[in-house]
Symmetry: C2
């Protein structure tokens, strides 16, 4: 059978592969129009051509002519989406236009959420007046306990895990690194649902065997169980997705206070025993009281980061969530081990954990991505997280005597989007596979529409009922903005209404809130 491609046509916006060569140089948007093609068999980008003209003003005829010329040059036969491709002997192509009415749509790399607790999603937005450690006991642990099921996962797990996948997809998250709970059946279910629904995911069964901090009714039965149950989940996921094309296991000690030194060491060993080593995720230095607690619990270690290093958990495939209060020495250790940081600004602010000074990490060459940290973070949206990263960095800057006039600590909109895509790809050690539109990468993408420009009114104009605000949310483009300004409007006021479609490995994922039925029927066959 001859190969079949999908040809995407429109505007493609991404961040450059390298953030900056030296401190203080901020990345610019890469903006191109033209075509990009993906081999349907594996969802990998085969090439792009930015010389194919794209008419900005919805001239369908001009677009079709440009596309025809390109496809002819390739020697491809155009087939309808959903047709029986097998019967065609020539290379075939499905054409998919991303040019929506109004001229303000574009393809963007899918977002990567490097830290999210899938099981906590029902608590999103509920904090009470607690701080981190109290909040864990009052809201988090009881919620996670509700995923218990000895033989099989309870309905709670189906309900919540389906919902969190729907919500993250609807916000454009194509890859997520999930914390589940301590329960093997529910954790396996999360992996199955991600696999079935097509979201790229790392799925971790949470380990917590240290009764000093764990609640009485929610912990591993023993240190041994922490390891054997983790092994069970790893085996399940490896069987589910043998080549790890979509879903992979991730070793997940919750954080130092909930784990014995022995278990931490055994989990480090377990990760290392695979080739390549397994991914690892945990929390570090989120909250000042937590740092004090770790100092008490692990007297023999010099620092919080040292606890993880001593136990073999500080690796190039380790995701450290939060890292708000790391010392310079700990940052140096993280950098030396090439461990990665999940910056979770919405959560850090909402729980009052503090400001994470991201500029220092970037300047020191530490790899940083963004994490929603649901439900310490209130929102499953990485766009919201990017916004909060900008806000927090500006407050850091406002408190810095050195940078008051330069805004040096401030993250630009482009930097926040870098962290949300390229940075996240580095954090999950997939910088060559996802995060951009490079040849050889998976086509993990979202189609964003900012809506048609606002119509100019005059004294006699009738104001129409829906005011043109129909389906592209709160962004108002007036028509004079350049693309950098449009992207800024997206970052500051965009939401899931701007996400019109999502693809992972070139598969269109059809379960997205607010996906217009028309687009579904146009694209649905492609999801197989």
């Amino acid at each position: 059978m001859a190969p079949t491609y999908t040809l995407y046509y429109g505007r493609f916006i991404q961040l450059p592969r390298q953030q900056h060569s030296q401190p203080g140089i901020k990345p610019s948007l890469e903006i191109n129009t033209g075509v990009l093609w993906v081999l349907n068999a594996d969802g990998i980008i085969q090439g792009f051509d930015w010389s194919v003209p794209m008419n900005e003003h919805d001239d369908a005829k001009g677009q079709d002519e440009a596309l025809s010329a390109f496809v002819q040059g390739k020697g491809w036969t155009v087939v309808e989406n959903g047709s029986d491709e097998g019967s065609v002997q020539k290379d075939t192509v499905i054409i998919l236009k991303g040019c929506r009415k109004g001229g303000n749509s574009f393809f963007f790399p899918g977002f990567i959420d490097t830290h999210i607790h899938a099981s906590q999603y029902p608590n999103a937005g509920i904090f009470g007046s607690s701080t981190l450690l109290e909040w864990l006991k009052k809201y988090t642990f009881p919620m996670e306990r509700s995923f218990e099921g000895k033989e099989k996962a309870p309905p709670q797990a189906y309900t919540v895990y389906n919902k969190v996948i729907s919500r993250t997809l609807s916000h454009g998250t194509t890859t997520a690194s999930y914390f589940a709970t301590i329960h093997v059946p529910a954790t396996n279910l999360l992996a199955t649902l991600c696999h079935r629904r097509g979201q790229r995911a790392f799925v971790g069964r949470v380990c917590m065997d240290n009764l000093v901090f764990c609640p009485e009714d929610y912990h591993d039965a023993s240190g041994e169980e922490s390891v054997t149950a983790t092994q069970e989940v790893i085996d399940y996921i490896h069987k589910l997705d043998p080549q790890g094309k979509l879903v992979a296991p991730i070793v997940t000690p919750r954080f130092a206070p909930t784990c014995s030194h022995k278990v931490l060491g055994e989990l480090g060993q377990l990760a290392k025993s695979y080739n390549p080593p397994l991914h690892i995720q945990t929390h570090i230095s989120e909250n000042k009281n937590e740092v004090i607690l770790v100092k008490e619990l692990f007297e023999e270690s010099e620092s919080y980061a040292q606890v993880y290093d001593d136990t073999g958990l500080l690796t190039p495939r380790t995701i450290l969530a939060h890292a708000v209060h790391l010392t310079p020495e700990e940052r140096a250790l993280v950098k030396a081990r090439d461990a990665k940081v999940a910056h979770c600004p919405a959560s850090n602010s909402a729980l009052g954990s503090g400001h994470c000074e991201v500029r220092k990490f970037l300047d020191e060459g530490i790899t940083v991505g963004l994490g929603t940290d649901v439900s310490g973070g209130y929102s499953p949206s990485i766009l919201e997280t990017a916004r909060q990263a900008c806000l927090v960095s500006r407050l850091v800057s406002s408190q810095s005597a050195a940078s008051e006039t330069t805004g040096y600590e401030s993250l630009s909109v482009e930097e926040a989007l870098y962290l949300a895509t390229r940075g996240g790809a580095q954090v999950v050690d997939m910088a060559d596979q996802i995060g951009g539109f490079d040849k050889g990468m998976y086509f993990d993408a979202q189609l964003i529409d900012l809506g048609a420009p606002v119509e100019t009114l005059s004294e006699d104009s009738e104001v129409s009922l829906d005011d043109g605000q129909g389906d592209t949310g709160n962004i108002d483009v007036f028509g004079w903005e350049n693309w950098e300004e449009k992207i800024a409007k997206w970052v500051w006021n965009g939401d899931d209404r701007n996400v019109k479609a999502v693809w992972v490995s070139g598969s269109f994922l059809s379960i997205i809130s607010y996906l217009p039925m028309s687009l579904v029927s146009e694209l649905d066959a492609h999801s197989g």
Copy 2:
């Protein structure tokens, strides 16, 4: 003609009239179900009865019986919305149910935006990498200049002012205190549009005569013009709405750096010459460089607040926006004059202006409301502003050694909503007229729907295409939450999709984005 009422039926949530009797006591939600009735002639709440039963579970028959019994007891005749009420000799009533499917809807007082630049709306979300003073020159002043029109307002003014009214209404803002521009025709147009479309508003023509700071191409021709043009707008608005029922003028010196001492004094006199004195709005101590600038420009004054006090601008009807860097002495002066503060956290963070320590203001008895400060603030939503107020207060708390464990500086969700409604009402000196559902107040309200609870899935469940996320945005209620938790979910993840209807003075305002057509046809006749 016998009087006609509208009877609202459902759940009513509001904040108590008094925030707290002593520092540290946080307000609780007042949650009631039953009926509330409004005299249609003036839109004023005549009474409420929380003993009328409301079935939580959509039993329309039970609801109708409860309503019938109540209406009969009152001796009212029920008429259809839009019928010819004049022909009925008895007191008549239109019944309006606010109980939407799923049981998670409620009436809430309309939001009050105490500080918003209507003319800057097209720039929302565009900051570049600037700080306050640079941003004014690069983005703000050029935008405001585009509203110029000697004889009549340009199309830009129609377009932008209609859009900003649509957007603020769609987010539930029933009262706004608007900065316009220096242009009389465009400022008058903004007042006209608010009046015509039914939004309660204070509309101010911006005064800026000091060429030391004003841009060359955007300033008042002279100090005299600052005053005479302001007078023109005041006269226009007083003619437009003689009793000030909906729209009122507000004296608006932009801020000290753009105004001469002489003009500041004359504007103070102008406000004072009316009975009652006119409202005044301006900015204060938003940014550290601005504070330094004011010290240089007004050497004779002890402080920024003193500049306004010396010129008669610090009055009980004065709205001071930002107030991030006020000294304790300045706070004491503001308190002594009973001037009010518009807290603009989204703007303060986005521009890197700094943290405003709101807890100190509240503890000292200074009146505080919320301001979006579009476009220093990126969003026209007071709900987003309330969220940012919570976030910033938690970061203040995290930096306070004293409160690290107590979270004393943190604003609770309820406090943020207090500031958004009751607080805002006090700031615009209308605490007896708006901000709650008290008898004798205008019915300025929004109908909020958080959506039906998430359906519990099992292994065999099909995940439906729209996943039940249809029209209530990003909030997921799972069914176990109490109302305090549901309100927390609203504050943290709600948006304009949750605003299903808005009333000002009992008039239903029909131009709201995402307003379902069915609700429009049901309610539209009432808007006349």
